[in-house]
Subunit: 326 residues, 2 copies
């Protein structure tokens, strides 16, 4: 049974995922390349995964398929229990850990999918969030995508993952708190202000369409870090209107193609930040996607401080991508 | 000129290090192995580094040598200026970025140095901190060590780095705040309580000597994460007494040798957390060292949440290292 444990100093929670238990001798394997001869995510190999939680179908086969993670970090069955162990605090590791298989064919890069297929994936993310928010044990969910072995992908076939949690994780809590303080101080939403300034100056603007704006953020932690922001502030990704998913699909396709040309098909992590599962007022927050290409190594300084050294100013990254033909 | 920029949502600062400016085509190089034919850190090649800031000598040559980083993330000259750019905040990138060359011979692993040499390195860290805290522009410093290319080292020769900052970085600020709250709530120091519980239960204990205790922390973010704690709580590493550096050298040597045997010479990051440069009461805080072997990849979930999934319970990691002969 996985457990959640809280660090008594910094207050950070971690998942001790005993069901993916690794012995010291197992760590060599992470270096192996994920070039699998047999791919459990390809159409025809459905038996190799647990039974699907959801499927998006238009014709005979499936277009997008959602399955439970075979080695889940959290378990979906059971009650949430909290207990102390001396001075320490722990919680049962309840949650959901799902895999979204993004296409039936063995394609690894979503930039190669057509816009309609990417849109289906983005709508399935929203469907899953709408379903999971019904579970009173869960407080929020994050959808993320690890593309390429260097970015942590263990299988090549295009897929994303969803983890739903019984607590609001640190990074999201900090964003919510920071955005709330900003609104209290300025009576405006920080996301609106960012959008306004970035559209006015254009120096960090990468791409825009009807509903989505892509920028290299002012305080980018990493070279070529990118944020995808909706023009209309909406706290919950799952409550966006359908046109938004279409525009986001287009933005993802164009921007990933630009990245592929600019940085020779970089590995990357893509993360959806969406407000927690609550009915409280969240008007200070706007869902958004963050993309981080895996170009530099996070090392002692970053781990020790939570401070990042970025050798490429976002203005340069943005200009480079803006000018890149696809 | 490097600048510090603040993220308007989460409040995190980053260093935009223009002096290490990298163009997109430069990113391939980070994959190259750091096997240098010519080593600028070896005795005899002193001309290849900037002139030393400090040297520790006993005989003819130097034993430990401190030089400015050739590609500093921050600049030491100038005033601290703050300004706004629309809704954003920035600060001039003032600070110090030094490299501590840990031995004159071309040895890459401190586990191969004798205890007396490691102790010299640890005392030089303290010397540098004592000197830098005189600079009123600086608020704190972090010493860290990236061992192995996978952990971000760009040169093989054993070395550590020191970065002094004009602000207290997020992670240290969180530790200070968490420890302060704990003290207000319980009237005890959280570090004392951790030490007490770990020495009583022994299940996460890795090693101990007269002054230093090494544990796998209860809420380990990473497999085989280790903390080195002094028995006598002291907020500032640079104010520890001399015997402590001797005991810490011994602990580092033994534990790194154990890690080398248990995990086949893993790359790792080592970070010193020490209280900020202030005369305020910091009795709620204790300096300590954190060591993180580079075994798993940090990916979308961790970046998106600040939440970690650790597949190896610290109890198992500790038992494995405790039982490992060296």
């Amino acid at each position: 049974m996985p457990t959640l444990r809280k660090d008594p100093i910094g207050g950070r929670w971690v998942i001790i995922a005993t069901e993916r238990n690794k012995r010291p001798s197992d760590y060599g394997e992470s270096v192996r390349s994920p070039q699998a001869e047999f791919c459990p995510f390809c159409a025809g190999n459905e038996d190799a995964t647990p039974p699907p939680i959801a499927e998006e179908r238009t014709g005979d086969g499936w277009d997008v398929r959602v399955v439970p993670n075979k080695f889940p970090a959290l378990r979906s069955e059971g009650e949430i229990t909290r207990r102390g162990e001396g001075i320490y605090d722990e919680m049962s590791g309840i949650g959901a850990h799902e895999v979204i298989i993004e296409c039936p064919e063995h394609i690894s890069d979503i930039a190669e999918l057509d816009t309609a297929q990417i849109e289906k994936v983005l709508r399935v993310w929203a469907d899953r969030l709408r379903e999971l928010r019904q579970d009173p044990r869960l407080r929020c969910a994050i959808v993320f995508k690890n593309h390429g072995a260097q970015a942590g992908a263990s299988l090549e076939h295009a897929h994303s993952q969803l983890i739903a949690l019984p607590i609001v994780p640190k990074r999201l809590a900090e964003e919510l708190e920071g955005a709330k303080k900003y609104q209290e101080f300025r009576d405006r939403c920080v996301f609106d202000d960012i959008l306004q300034q970035e559209l006015d100056s254009e120096e960090r603007l990468v791409y825009q369409n009807e509903d989505i704006v892509v920028i290299a953020p002012y305080a980018s932690r990493f070279p070529f870090e990118l944020w995808f922001l909706p023009r209309r502030g909406e706290p919950w990704y799952e409550h966006a209107d359908l046109r938004t998913y279409h525009c986001l699909a287009e933005a993802l396709q164009v921007v990933c193609r630009k990245l592929n040309r600019a940085l020779d098909h970089p590995p990357y992590n893509l993360m959806l930040h969406s407000a927690p599962f609550t009915d409280e007022d969240m008007s200070h927050f706007t869902w958004h996607l963050e993309l981080i290409p895996t170009l530099t190594k996070v090392a002692g300084f970053e781990w020790g401080t939570g401070f990042y050294i970025n050798p490429t100013p976002p203005e340069e990254a943005a200009k480079h991508l803006r000018d890149m033909d696809i």
